[in-house]
Amino acid sequence: MALSAPQIPRWFNSVKLRSLINAAQLTKRFTRPGRTLLHGFSAQPQMSPDNCFLQWGFKTYKTSSLWNSSQTTSSSSQENNSAQSTLLPSMNEQSEKTQKIPSFDSEVFLEELDDLPPLSPMQPISEEEAIQIIAAPPLPPSSFTLRDYVDHSETLQKLVLLGVDLSKIEKHPDAANLLLRLDFEEDIKQILLFLKDVGIEDNQLGAFLTKNYAIFSEDLENMKTRVAYLHSKNFSKADVAQMVRKAPFLLNFSVERLDNRLGFFQKELQLSVKKTRDLVVRLPRLLTGSLEPVKENMKVFNTRLFKVKERHLFLTYLGRAQYDPAKPNYISLDKLVSIPDEIFCEEIAKASVQDFEKFLKTL
């Protein structure tokens, strides 16, 4: 059966190069588009070649999914599932069920296809049927951004309402794929309730999930074990909540890894157990970061260094740089850094802000 160009559905032409599925899958699927359709059609010889676009449209989605299931055993790409959500309502239950199952039930699909009668665009149809045709533009099968899918996916909508920054997550294609495949009620809700249990507030969930979207692929039982382990090491509930908030990847580490790292810090810095605990609560990123000295946030340090230097030089210029607690007019070092400029000028340097600025321009 020859396929003429206009009949090749739009979505073949709209494949964008930067797609979410990896290149291997992409080439496998699209090198021989003709074959894809033919493969599907060989199963239903009674199909007439001139189908209306819509019928063609969703049949090819299904045929491609058939093809996919025979080709790729791993979980199929998210395009199929998202595409299926635009199908007629009768098909929606099918697609919901098949979201979890990696390999499709081909027999069920074939039966459904047999039931549908062939339609030609010239055939008159009743008002009822006319209303039931959904002619919305199909979802792109692959895209580089989650914007195209957000209006059709409840999961994504609920995540946005929680405050998760999808524009950051879509930069990691695996993460975006994962989120599209998950169902809010079943998977995500459990994990969110668990996080609330650990002590993260509602308004902090968004920031947490933006950093650690991989938490959805963690096993809930494992994470409960890790929290129990931390409790057993005498970290209070508030401590654990603070640690998880500051270092979102903490719960992704296995119990032995956490244990190793805590032990490492205790040994290297030769601190008592209590001091290690305090340190880790204040800086949990030590546990999740690399164990070499980290040059994190050079810019922050540079800014702080500049501030300290400028203020110190100003005080020296004024003759007020007294850092010895025993002598009068002592200025404590943390006051030097932490207080804002205006208060520093008025109280510590006893000069005006304009004088400080003039001095800065002479450096």
Binding site: P89, E128, I131, Q132, L146, R147, D148, V150, D151, L156, Q157, V160, G163, V164, D165, L166, S167, K168, K299, N302, F306, K309, E310, D341, E357, L360, K361, T362, L363
Partner: protein, 321 residues
């Protein structure tokens, strides 16, 4: 927020670069602050899209279906889905200052700097004027008595000498000699035939400037303060690098039959921007920068005007006042 604030962001302004900061970091910080300010505008109102939903028609006994149009909120343009509106901003630095120097640094935001704008003719006139060989003023501090390999105070020590014989008069004489030799170089590099009447008039008015690449040229140099071992000189130059200024201090030391290193290089004027108009590090945010650009705009326009209308060789510029 939007195109109004963006249009006020095109132009030139000056910052004060503190010592110890690389000019590239300065440029990045300014860009970050501008993006932060631009993205902080209030988010757009939530969008709606129209969907036609199937539902039973009201007032009918049988189950008749009909389509009703409803407005459904759409999240496609929600900021958490699209990301920030501005992600990139083109900021250019005019004449660079190396990490150890400090001083006035002109910054240029060209037309079409922002990703959102895209459209916008490059303002070649501004660029040309800015590269148009205006002179810069520096305050350079030197220390007599030692010589190092990179002419800085903290470099590897090469030589130590005495400097008791150095007096203010000797220093002034050396500086005058330097200015004289650079005057000759000025004329040579500006490719003017001094025998013509026009060239003579320009030379009288002090308008001779080389327009092409040339080595550092000093148009004025004088001693501000002399207290051995320290001395402070003011240099007015063009086409310079800070390293050459430090080398200049070293050479002054050699001419004085002693040695000298440079302890500080500070630029007090870059083209038309002076210390007063330079923004301090605490003022590198959207509003201050917008104000600075607006304030500087008339002076920049005047300078441009002067350079375009100076007749004769239109590229020659007068010394800024």
């Amino acid at each position: 927020m939007g195109s109004a604030s963006l249009s006020r962001l095109q132009g030139l302004f000056a910052v004060y670069k503190p010592p110890g900061l690389k000019w590239k970091h300065l440029r990045d910080t300014v860009e970050l602050q501008l993006l932060k300010g631009l993205n902080a505008g209030k988010p757009p109102a939530p969008e709606q899209r129209v969907r036609f939903l199937l539902g039973p028609m009201e007032g009918s006994e049988e189950k008749e279906l009909t389509l009703t149009a409803t407005s459904v909120p759409s999240l496609t343009n929600h900021p958490l889905v699209c990301g920030p509106a501005f992600t990139h901003f083109k900021v250019g630095v005019g004449h660079r200052l190396d990490a150890q120097s400090s001083g006035v640094l002109g910054v240029r935001i060209p037309w079409g700097a922002c990703q959102v704008l895209g459209v916008g003719r490059g303002c070649r006139l501004l660029t040309d004027m800015y590269n148009a060989h205006l002179t810069k003023d520096y305050t350079v501090r030197g220390l007599l008595g030692k010589a190092t390999d990179d002419f800085c105070e903290d470099g590897r020590l090469v030589e130590k000498t005495t400097y008791d014989h150095v007096t203010r008069e000797k220093l002034d004489r050396i500086l005058a000699m330097i200015q004289g030799s650079h005057q000759k170089a000025l004329v040579m590099y500006s490719n003017l035939d001094l025998k013509t009447q026009e060239a003579y008039e320009m030379a009288v008015r002090g308008l001779i400037r080389p327009m092409n690449k040339s080595p550092m040229l000093i148009t004025g140099i004088r001693c501000l303060h002399f207290a051995p071992p320290e001395f402070l000189i003011e240099v007015q130059c063009m086409h310079e690098t800070q390293k050459e200024l430090r080398k200049l201090v070293h050479e002054i030391g050699l001419e004085l039959k002693t040695t000298a290193v440079c302890s500080r290089v500070r630029r007090t004027r870059d083209g038309i921007f002076t210390l007063d108009s330079a923004l301090l590090r605490t003022q590198w945010d959207l509003h201050s920068i917008q104000d600075a650009i607006q304030t500087a705009a008339p002076r920049v326009a005047a300078e441009l005007e002067k350079s375009l209308s100076s007749g004769l060789d239109t590229k020659q510029l007068p010394t800024p006042g």
